[in-house]
Amino acid sequence: MFMRDKLRQSLAIGALALTTTALPAIGQETQGRTVAPLPAEIEETTELVPTSPVADSEGTADAGLESNFGLGRAATEAEIAAIDIDVMPDGRGLPEGNGSYAEGSSLYEEKCLACHGENLEGIKELGAPALIGGRDTLGSDKPVKTVESYLANASTLYDYIHRAMPLDSPGSLSADEVYALSAYILGRGGILGEDAELDAQSLPQVQMPNADGFIADPRPDSL
């Protein structure tokens, strides 16, 4: 026979699982489920909840058709600040703090060198790209794209290191540390001097060699 008993046993287990977890009785706590709770569970309207046509005394808005569904709640400043980490080319989003090439040099050795190499050349086996080099190669037969040769804005360097590096401990660097590492990498790339110091004022002023290297997408008018 075809393992009949064993199968029967698992059927029983399956059926049990079905009644106890997959189909909670009506009114039972549905915690842990990922489907939306029924509308009956809408919380009382508080001042944090945006205006809803449901609660619109004027009765002017069309309920639930275009906007003002009354769903979601106001995001607090603290909630936004906790994850609003991006930095823009004009310096918007840069935090207070500063860091120097010298500080960056020792930080690099401690936190980055193992992957990106002594000379920022990148370590192939680890998939870590070169951070400098390749200047004036972009139009050649061997284009080398790095922070030094290709990047148009220093803000991108700050933003990326802060959000994603070091790869084995992302999001662990302080603002001072990211300024210092940026100064060091840009210094090693010959974009800044070895006496460089960066902060929210100076970083957006950095002139990247490839600042004018990008053009808009001409498609679909051209291939």
């Binding site: 769903l71 061997k142 804005n153």
Partner: protein, 461 residues
């Protein structure tokens, strides 16, 4: 692929390394298949790439544990459960209902797999869809291609929320439950990584369609229109861009034009009738129909509305298209029309002359596919293929054409047109404008050479 090395000197070191690794891994996989073929007496020979032995790039250890035809093996293929094959399935009852635990599995005789592109970094890597085995237009969720820059996060949907802020009247925070209560939409559409085909600019490099085209997949996605949520927050005058940010270790970010966001962008929580797969962004993913895959931010946690693009690493150092003059195109967001024949395709062998159905997929980021033509003589003459309904906007479209192979050499090509009138270009036309270093957005006509012995290979013709 030893004869490739000198050729790829022309690329930058990173691209060169990538292509070499990719070719090596594919060769390794094909060797494994050849080995399996040799072990198997029942070789049919027609579909080495689409047989139950499957596509297993860079996974030799796993490959060895997979089934060979007709033989029982200790371990079932991923996604399958190994059951004893009944000598006569009409003479005894089959296994019982729910023996699979309540969530089904595929047949133990099917083992198509995504293939991980062998990047040096395991955290930042990608896997490709086995297109040769695909049927219809939907990619099974478990075979949808992947691209991660910081691994796959495990996120509790109860704790996940989406914050919308910046140039809005009311900064808002939505839980997953909030989002699921908003009016929902479903849309079947492709996502293609703009790096799809990056190994093929200079010369034919990979052997199979999984390698050359496997970074495109189609799912039915369900979620809420981003415009619904943005109207809820109230977009302010002067807003032009939105930063979308993921909650993975790369905290992936891309800037999206506000017009696109208000047009057809979707905050998706569903894929093919169930919740998103973790590797596709569970619990929430931004979908931008027709845009390059990298912009479809997974594990979405934040949207910031702004007047300017943010110039993140992924839209500057990466995903920009370098031209021969050293300038690079930025924000090349739309995926142009593209098609590929998936049967017959590279590394297959047609066993005998005679009837075959040529089949493949076409898609465009600028609308519906309006036509696909097929050539069997390398582009000299073309015939219209049949398009399988439904033909959907910004979606894989299946095409077919009957073909009687006379046993002589042939070069098969497909060329598609979309509703904007755009015709898929030849590689030569593309290279003339963009050179061979632009990495991204290769959408040229693909050529498969059919040799007199039936072997199909990747060529530039």
């Amino acid at each position: 692929m030893s004869d490739d090395t000198t050729h790829h000197e022309r690329y930058g070191p990173a691209e060169r390394r990538m292509v070499r690794q990719m070719a090596d891994a594919e060769t390794q996989m094909l060797d494994q298949l050849a080995q399996d073929d040799a072990d198997c007496e029942c070789r049919e020979g027609m579909f080495p790439g689409v047989s139950r032995r499957g596509m297993l790039f860079g996974g030799a250890a796993l490959g060895a544990s997979l089934l060979s035809s007709g033989q029982a093996a200790a371990q079932a293929p991923p996604g399958a459960i190994e059951y004893p094959v009944q000598p006569d399935s009409t003479k005894e009852q089959g296994r019982l209902i729910l023996d699979d635990g309540g969530y089904g599995s595929r047949s133990q005789f099917e083992n198509e797999l995504r293939w991980r592109y062998p990047t040096d970094s395991l955290d930042s890597s990608w896997s490709m869809t086995p297109l040769a085995a695909g049927m219809g237009i939907i990619t099974p969720s478990g075979l949808h291609f992947e691209r991660h820059h910081g691994g796959i996060p495990t996120i509790d949907p109860e704790k996940h929320s989406l914050i919308i802020h910046g140039m809005v009247d009311k900064p808002l925070r939505f839980t997953m439950n909030d989002l699921k209560r908003l009016p929902s939409v479903s849309r079947t559409m492709f996502i293609e990584c703009s790096g799809n085909g990056l190994s093929e600019w200079d010369k034919p490099t990979l052997k199979t369609v999984q390698g050359t085209h496997g970074l495109t997949s189609t799912s039915e996605w369900t979620g809420v229109l981003l415009s619904t949520v943005l109207k809820e927050a109230g977009i302010q005058d002067g807003a032009a861009w939105i930063l979308a940010e993921g909650a993975d270790a790369a905290v992936m970010t891309r800037s999206v034009p506000i017009d696109k966001a208000m047009d057809d962008a979707i905050l998706a929580y569903g894929q093919n009738g169930e919740a998103l797969r973790p590797e596709q962004g569970y619990p929430l993913r931004l979908l931008l129909p027709g845009y390059e895959g990298n912009t479809h931010i997974k594990w979405l946690r934040r949207l910031e509305i702004s007047d300017k693009p943010f110039m993140t690493r992924e839209e500057t150092l990466k995903y920009t298209d370098l031209l021969p003059d050293g300038k690079a195109r930025e924000f090349t967001l739309e995926m142009d029309a593209k098609s590929v024949i998936t049967f017959p395709s590279g590394a297959m062998r047609l066993p005998t002359p005679g009837y075959y159905e040529i089949s493949g997929i076409a898609w465009s980021g600028r609308g519906k596919i309006t036509g696909v033509e097929i050539s069997a003589d390398g582009g000299k003459t073309w015939n219209k293929a049949t398009l399988q309904e439904p033909v959907l906007d910004k979606c894989h479209t299946r095409f077919r054409m009957p073909w009687v192979w006379d046993g002589r050499e042939a070069v098969l090509q497909s060329r598609c047109t979309d509703e904007s009138g755009y015709v898929q270009p030849t590689l030569a036309e593309l290279v003339k404008v963009r050179g061979v270093y632009s990495v991204y957005h290769l959408n040229a006509i693909q050529s498969w050479h059919v040799a007199a012995n039936g072997e199909v290979s990747n060529v530039h013709a």
